[in-house]
Symmetry: C3
Subunit: 207 residues, 3 copies
C-alpha cells in the first residue's frame, strides 16, 4: 500500500510537471516534438538525476511504460487546451507547485528507504523536485528560474524538514506525506503572493 501510494504520488507529479513544462515550451514556440521533449525532461529530469546518483538503475521511468504514457497524455491535453490554459495562469502555477511538493516527498522517501542520512535525503528530495526544471531551463537556454525566483527550492528544503520533524513525532506516514505536500504548495503560494525572496548578495565587485 505504501508503494501504491508512492506510485500515485509519482504519477500525479509527472502529470503536473509535464503540463507545466509543455506550457512553457508552447510559449517558447517550439514544434510539437520539442514540446514533448521539454515536457519529458521537466517531469522525469529530477528523478532521473536522483536515480543515477544513488545507483537506482535502470532509472525508474525505464522500468515500465506508464511514465511515458502519462507524459504523452499530459502533453496532448496541454496542447489541446492551450488556449484555455493561457487564461488560467494561476492553474498553471498550481500545477508546478503541486509537482514540486509531490516530487520532494517522492525523493525524500526513496532516499530514506535506501538508508541515506537526513541531510542527504533532504538534498535528494530537493534535487528530485527542482532539477527537472533546471534541465528544462538549460535546454531552453535561459538562466534556471530556480536562481532568479522567489522562494522555490527553499520550499522543498522546508517541506523535507517538516517531513523529518513529523516523522520523529511518529505521525502516521500517509498523513505526513499529505501534510508535507500541502506545506510546500502553501509556501509557494504565499511566497509568490507576498513576494517573499531570499536576500540577494551585493556583488563581489563593488561597482
Amino acid at each position: 500500500m505504501q508503494t501504491d501510494f508512492l506510485r500515485i504520488i509519482d504519477i500525479l507529479g509527472t502529470f503536473a510537471f509535464a503540463v507545466s513544462g509543455a506550457s512553457m515550451a508552447i510559449n517558447k514556440k517550439l514544434d510539437v516534438f520539442g514540446v514533448l521533449v521539454i515536457a519529458f525532461v521537466t517531469s522525469v529530469g529530477g528523478g532521473t538525476i536522483r536515480d543515477i546518483m544513488i545507483g537506482n538503475l535502470p532509472v525508474s521511468w525505464l522500468q515500465n511504460e506508464v511514465t511515458i504514457l502519462v507524459i504523452l497524455i499530459s502533453t496532448g491535453i496541454t496542447l489541446f487546451f492551450r488556449h484555455r490554459l493561457q487564461q488560467l495562469p494561476v492553474t498553471l502555477f498550481l500545477f508546478d507547485a503541486m509537482g514540486l511538493g509531490l516530487f520532494t516527498i517522492a525523493g525524500v522517501e526513496l532516499a530514506a528507504d535506501k538508508g541515506f542520512s537526513t541531510g542527504i535525503c533532504i538534498s535528494l528530495g530537493t534535487i528530485t523536485a527542482c532539477f527537472g526544471g533546471v534541465l528544462r531551463d538549460v535546454l531552453l537556454n535561459q538562466v534556471p528560474l530556480i536562481f532568479r525566483k522567489e522562494i522555490y527550492a527553499t520550499a522543498c528544503v522546508a517541506g523535507a524538514l517538516i517531513y523529518f520533524l513529523f516523522k520523529s513525532l511518529h505521525v502516521d506516514s500517509g498523513l505526513i506525506k499529505i501534510l508535507c505536500i500541502l506545506s510546500i504548495v502553501i509556501i509557494r503560494v504565499l511566497a509568490v503572493k507576498y513576494k517573499w525572496a531570499i536576500p540577494q548578495i551585493g556583488s563581489l565587485k563593488r561597482e
Copy 2:
C-alpha cells in the same frame, strides 16, 4: 558476428559525429582543445546518457581506448581538411545524417538486447542518436537545434519504428539494420531538401 557488426556501426557513427561536431566547433572559433572536447561530447554524449540511464556502467567508451582514438583521428582529419570541408556543406550534412542513422540503430539494438519494451527501445535509440548534439548545443550555449530544425529526432523515431516492423516480419537482422540506417538518412535528406517540418504550436499567450 552480430557484435562485430554493432561495433563497426559504433565506430562509423563515432567518426561521423566527431567530424560533424568538430566542424561546428571550428565555426564557433573555439581553440584546438575546445574543438576536441566538442567532437568528443557530440559523438559519445548520446551513448553515454543511454548507458548511464540503463546502468550499463562503466559507459561503453571507457571500456577500451578505441573510441578515444577514433575521435582524436577524426578531429585531426577535420582540422586538417577544414578549408576543403567548408566547400562541402552537403558532405558535412551527410556525416551528421549517417551518425543519426547509425546511432539510432546502435541504441535500439542495445536496448532490445537488454530486454526493454518497444516504446522504451525507441526512446533509447532516439536519445542515443540525438542527445550528443543536444549536449554539444548546450555547451556552445545555443538552443538545441533539435528544437528548431526540420524533422530531426522524428527521423530517428521513424527509423526505430521501421526496425520493429521489419523485425516482426522476420527480415534478416543484418538487412534490417542497413534498411533502417538508410531510411533515417533518406528521411533527413528529404526533410531538408523539401523543408519538411513539424507544425509549430501557436503561442499559449495570444499576442
Copy 3:
C-alpha cells in the same frame, strides 16, 4: 594512509572549488540559495560525472555528509568575506588553480585504482577537474570558460601525464601527488601570467 591522503586532497579540492564557485555566483548577483547551489555544482560536479560514468554509485558525496558540510562552510566563509575577497582576485585565481590540481590527481588515482588504462585515466582526471566548472557555466548560461580561456584543461592533461611519467620511474606515491598538483598550479599561473593560449582555428566558413 593512502586513502586518508586522498580524502584530504578531496576535502581541500572541494573547499577550493566551493570558494571559487560561490564567488562567481555572487558576482552574478544570485540569491543566497543560488550561491550555495553553484558552489555545490562547481565542487562536486566533476567528481559526480566521473563516478556516474565509471559506475561508482552512489556517487562519493552521497556516502557521508562531510562534503555537504565542507561546501556549506566554504560558502558561508565566502559570503562573509566577500568584500575582502573582491580585493584579492589573485587569491581567488589560486583557489581555482589548486582545485584543478587537487581534483585532477583525485580523478587519476581513482581511475587507476579501478584498473582503467592510462588514456582513460587521463581523460577521467581531466573530467573530474574541469566539468564542475563546465556545469557551473552551463547553469549560469555562459559558454564554458574552458572553451575560451588560456591553457586550462590542458594543464590537467599535462599534470596527469607527469603523474604517469613519475610513476613509471617509481617515485614515491605521496611525492608524485604533491609534484603533480604543484605542476598543474604552476602551469596555470604561468599560462595566465604570460597569456599562453592554444591556437585558435580559423573559421571553417572563410568570412
